[in-house]
Symmetry: C4
Subunit: 238 residues, 4 copies
């Protein structure tokens, strides 16, 4: 008997440190990375494609595997743009992307039928400030303000149970006549991980982690040594 | 119908991930960046102007758009100076700059009439430690200890309501005979975002994030490998 | 009398800032580093061995020395692998490795008889969300799903006492006919340190600290300046 | 009247963003930096002296100026040493250094009579976990286990009052026949800043911020892309 194999099985069943032993059928990578990269285009090394994408990005999620479905969460970073004035600003804030995959066998989950819900910054604020017994619900409508408004509706609800929360995603599509609901029970410990991870990710998603960090290259290190008359007093200065 | 356009509308209305769809009339960039850069001077690339300003800085805020006004918050980093003894110290601590802009139409906010309030480190301490039902108020007087003391007074108050807080800024200018008050209702979720973001920013604003991080360049990496006899025991050593 | 020596003794007894004055007999380094490096192979400088190991890694733990045993905790980082598609993903999540060493004399602890327990991400979630009076217990079985299933069982329990928690590790080995139990009383202050340190380490252990941080080299700094059309809106885009 | 001067006065009195306007008589720099550098030796640029000291370090504290005394806090980083086996480990944990200076005039504080108290990692754990109404007290004896044991005793106490805490340092020196006590009232807001800043600093002081961060130079970036068979499963592997 191979003791290392034992270990892996144990971790798989106990704590699932080894990722992706629960198989996501239908795709290789999680959804987060797909958001970060162009499907089907492989770039090598640290180089950047003409479209500015980096292959150096690291993909990490947090996945909870339950009997009827799996729930994965991962941070999606903000995007930035350079203005004509020569500075960089947040163009679109990031999200926490939640992915639900229904079970189609023992520890197999169907990525073809996955449903997504991107928690906005303020929705993350709701999520991480949930007290014991609290619940919350968020609604997204991809067709809002179009002629199809109300035809497709997604709602994510977080409701307490005795040890943790039920996280449910409902997707109603009146055009395709489909109505889909998936619920994942999340233990108190798993929710604590999500809360800690989402709280950590929040300033990154908002772009504040980028704006508060001084540049780390050599030029940047000199930056803090000069006297840039950046007036914190400018509150008075208009 | 362009599905991508739908998405943007939806995000705009639901979660406002896409920034600046609510228009700030009267200026292009937020106030934070103006504090970081010289107005009207555009520097290219990563180079530094003679004044030590960097165009590499990234600008990010958190904005809440309500019916009567918008409230934006962004961190303003500390400034540093190099002493004659050859080390770098914080010259002026940073702040969280709050900017209030009155509404002048549907989702349009008037930057010409904006009012600023720079939360100090200790005021941020008050803000992030507010419990449910707590309130706080801060007073700034730009003319303090001058002959005009008391002529212009700003007060920022944070008061609880059923779901969150009212954040109000009053500016009384006895010289110009103006009296200005703007209030933005902030939900519990939005306040949770502010609390998390302000808590994250606090050590950066204080300069502690700079002083606790080891240098990241090559020289710096060697630093931690030598035995600098930096005596933590120096408490006894005077 | 050498005043510096005095200081060290004082710190040793009072606050144990100086590490390893309590001696771990039987090995020089803590267990964490051994996990990070290959035993008996010394690589010089910042170079990497053919196996990709770095000698540049820094080892730090948090150790609590009590009468009957010592408890050390240290973060074990995740491992990553590069996929055929050219991106990097978490291969195995990290852990917090707990090491128990029985006392074999005054302030001497026996590393030969040490017992290990690797807290998974979700177990860390349980640990850091323990309220006053709460307890938790985790079970690991290295032989699970093998013919030896149930022959070796480890259980870690955290139980409240008047000032803090008792942390106990039981290891039952039916094959070797051994039954081992070690308990370390942890004060409220020590538990607060563990909670803060484990919370800090959690996003690093999950790989989120890696995935949310933008690249810091020059190539990376350009990354945020381009317009990578990374659609946060992709929730709608399937 | 110079409006910028007004601003500085206002900030000085209101929020003290501008540091060192309250004068520390008797020394130029705070105590933290002195711990980091050799007195009287000025090194230029980013170079390192033969003793391994860096002039690139940034100094930042948090100071509270009250009627009878000023209290300053600053993080002191751990020291590291390289072992014969080629890895780097924490040699001495860092501290939060508290410095008390008695007032000797309006907003003037006497650095010649300053008293120091270095909070250890576990004492910081006590400090940041203080609930409303809680108190704590720490004792340091620089002469412990010498023939002068008990001759000099320092005690730091943190006791609640209606809005915050009293932080007191008592130093009893039986040899010099001196007995010194200084108390600084700290508001709830100021304590919230200390709690947040100390919590932030804790993993840096422990060395965990160093050990969990991947190397940031080019060599380091490659590190996470290889498959270092660093066995998180090594719990089972002894």
């Amino acid at each position: 008997m191979n003791p290392r194999a034992m270990v892996k099985l144990s971790h798989f069943l106990n704590s699932r440190n080894k990722l992706f032993q629960c198989r996501f059928l239908g795709e290789d990578a999680g959804n987060c990375f797909r958001l970060m990269s162009s499907a089907g285009i492989s770039t090598a090394g640290q180089s950047y494609g003409a479209d500015g994408r980096s292959s150096g990005h690291i993909y990490a999620d947090y996945s909870i595997f339950k009997g009827k479905a799996a729930l994965s969460a991962c941070p999606v970073l903000p995007t930035f743009s350079k203005t004509g004035s020569g500075y960089t600003k947040v163009d679109r804030r990031g999200t926490i992307m939640l992915t639900f995959r229904p079970a189609i066998g023992e520890r197999k989950y169907d990525s073809e039928k996955k449903q997504l819900f991107a928690l906005s910054v303020t929705e993350i604020g709701s999520f991480i400030s949930l007290g014991p017994g609290d619940s919350c619900e968020f609604f997204h409508d991809p067709s809002m303000q179009s002629r199809d408004a109300g035809q497709v509706r997604k709602s994510l609800s977080v409701k307490p149970h005795t040890d943790g929360y039920f996280i449910s995603l409902s997707v109603t599509n009146n055009i395709l006549k489909t109505n889909n609901r998936v619920t994942v029970p999340v233990t108190t410990a798993e929710f604590a991980v999500m809360r800690a991870a989402f709280s950590f990710a929040l300033p990154h998603i908002m772009g504040w982690a980028h704006s508060t960090n001084p540049p780390t290259d050599n030029v940047g290190r000199d930056f803090v040594k000069v006297h840039p008359q950046l007036a914190a007093a400018s509150e008075w200065d208009r």
